[in-house]
């Protein structure tokens, strides 16, 4: 039976969009925590730490996100644990984001002139202190555009979580479309909703970038 589109359908989509945002936000937080660790391991002058980080980055960047979702969702199930789509999706997206953010931030850290490391070493700062007080505050500026670019990419990629039964914006749209068969309207609304999530991010990027000082 095909029914007509109703106002309720719009609210259903809006409600589902909250899950898209929730998944993106939690994954960004989880991914940032992992990303910081990956970045530090990547720049610390200890070769095994670097190898570990590189292996992680290569594995995640070299395999499809869809596969990672499946492996975490079904793989953990095989081990006898019951994971909800929400847990599986947040874990998978965090692990995925951690690799990309770690690599983005490594690039930003390495974009800070070597002389800043030397000047801070010369007043006696340790490696982690140099990172924390001198290098990272400056790297943040370089990292803003690619980091926010990745967030936008992540928001859109959360639609993949529908595959493991997580109902977010795209999955909700499929459900409504199946009942109403109004794909143009439904997917247009969805596109607008994604845009409404992503556009403010891009704006934020511009504003933040103007504010920070770095070595030239």
């Amino acid at each position: 039976m095909i029914r007509d589109l109703a106002t309720n359908d719009f609210f259903y989509l809006l409600f589902a969009a909250r899950w898209t945002v929730a998944l993106a936000v939690v994954s960004i937080i989880g991914g940032s925590l992992i990303g910081v660790v990956v970045m530090v391991l990547r720049v610390v002058p200890i070769p095994p730490a670097k190898w570990l980080a590189v292996a992680y980055i290569q594995t995640i960047q070299g395999t499809p996100l869809l596969g990672q979702l499946f492996i975490i969702f079904f793989g953990i199930g095989v081990l006898g644990y019951d994971v909800s789509p929400w847990i599986a999706a947040t874990v998978a997206f965090s692990v995925y984001s951690g690799a990309f953010l770690g690599e983005i931030w490594r690039g930003s850290v390495q974009a800070v002139p070597k002389t800043q490391w030397e000047a801070s070493a010369s007043i006696g700062l340790s490696f982690l202190e140099q990172l924390r007080y001198v290098v990272i505050p400056q790297a943040v500026r370089f990292s803003i555009p690619p980091t926010i670019g990745f967030w936008v990419h992540l928001v859109k990629n959360t639609s993949l979580a529908s595959i493991i039964g997580f109902i977010e914006l795209t999955r909700a749209g499929q459900i409504i479309n199946a009942a109403t068969f109004r794909p143009m309207t439904v997917y247009l609304v969805i596109a607008v909703l994604y845009f409404c999530i992503c556009f403010p991010l891009a704006k934020m990027s511009e504003r933040l970038e103007g504010k920070l000082r770095v070595a030239r």
Partner: protein
């Protein structure tokens, strides 16, 4: 024992030997100027003294500690050795005051108030009291370089290393930085000054070292060496720089 004892050090970057058996002692309160052509190893020598560059052979002692021994805590050692670079290298995201207090609060674990007091003293030594809350990019090159000097001085170093600190400055700004150095000299600071300012070397330095091809080619009392260069290389060098 001298404050700095450098004994037959060798330093290479891959296949390029940049320091070939350099030996030099610096006594407390002594001011040593280092001159030489570009690429002769002046900066590298300075950077070896505070452990920024590792060496392949020889030994460096600073205030009784061996810089190139694995057990040496370079963080501790670097608090005793200030270095100022040609390109200032201030921390651009921090105010002048925070540039100066960073090492005090983080490395020396000093309370903020105490660190600020020292920052005010250090900035007064370079005559920039009114710039404490400025950011580096709001200052002229000469002012930035003076802040860099204050940042080092705040750590109460026993030795200051200066690497061509006026070379990146417009001519009219060189004087203000050299005056700070002269004042430090009067206060009895031990200094090693790599410079192209021959006049400064003559008037302020006690001793002069001429480096050539990674070796100390000539050294002695500053005026004596400058007035009576013994080697062709130094004669040529002095002929090629503006005095």
């Amino acid at each position: 024992m001298s404050l700095v004892e450098i004994d037959r050090i060798h330093k290479s970057f891959d296949d390029l030997e940049v320091l070939r058996g350099v030996s030099l002692d610096i006594d407390e309160g002594e001011i040593v100027a280092v001159i030489g052509r570009s690429g002769s190893g002046k900066s590298t020598l300075l950077r070896c003294i505070n452990g920024l560059e590792p060496i392949q052979a020889g030994t460096i002692w600073v205030d009784g500690e061996q810089v190139n021994a694995p057990e040496t805590d370079l963080r501790k050692l670097r608090q005793k050795v200030g270095i100022v670079f040609q390109s200032f290298n201030l921390f651009p995201h921090l105010t002048v005051e925070r540039n100066i207090t960073l090492g005090l609060t983080v490395v020396k674990k000093m309370a903020v108030e105490e660190a600020r007091k020292i920052a005010r003293q250090a900035i007064a030594q370079v005559d920039l009291e009114d710039k404490l809350s400025a950011y580096p990019d709001m200052l002229s090159g000469g002012q930035q370089q003076r802040v860099a000097i204050a940042r080092s001085l705040a750590m109460s170093p026993k030795l200051m290393l200066f690497d061509e600190i006026t070379s990146a400055l417009d001519p009219e700004l060189i004087g203000e930085v050299l005056r700070v150095l002269a004042k430090l000299a009067e206060d009895g600071m031990t200094m090693m000054v790599v410079t192209h300012e021959i006049g400064f070397a003559r008037n302020v330095a006690h001793r002069l070292v001429f480096m050539h091809n990674g070796e100390i080619w000539e050294e002695g009392a500053a005026r004596a060496v400058l007035d009576n260069p013994k080697t062709e290389e130094l004669k040529n060098f002095l002929g090629s720089v503006l005095i």
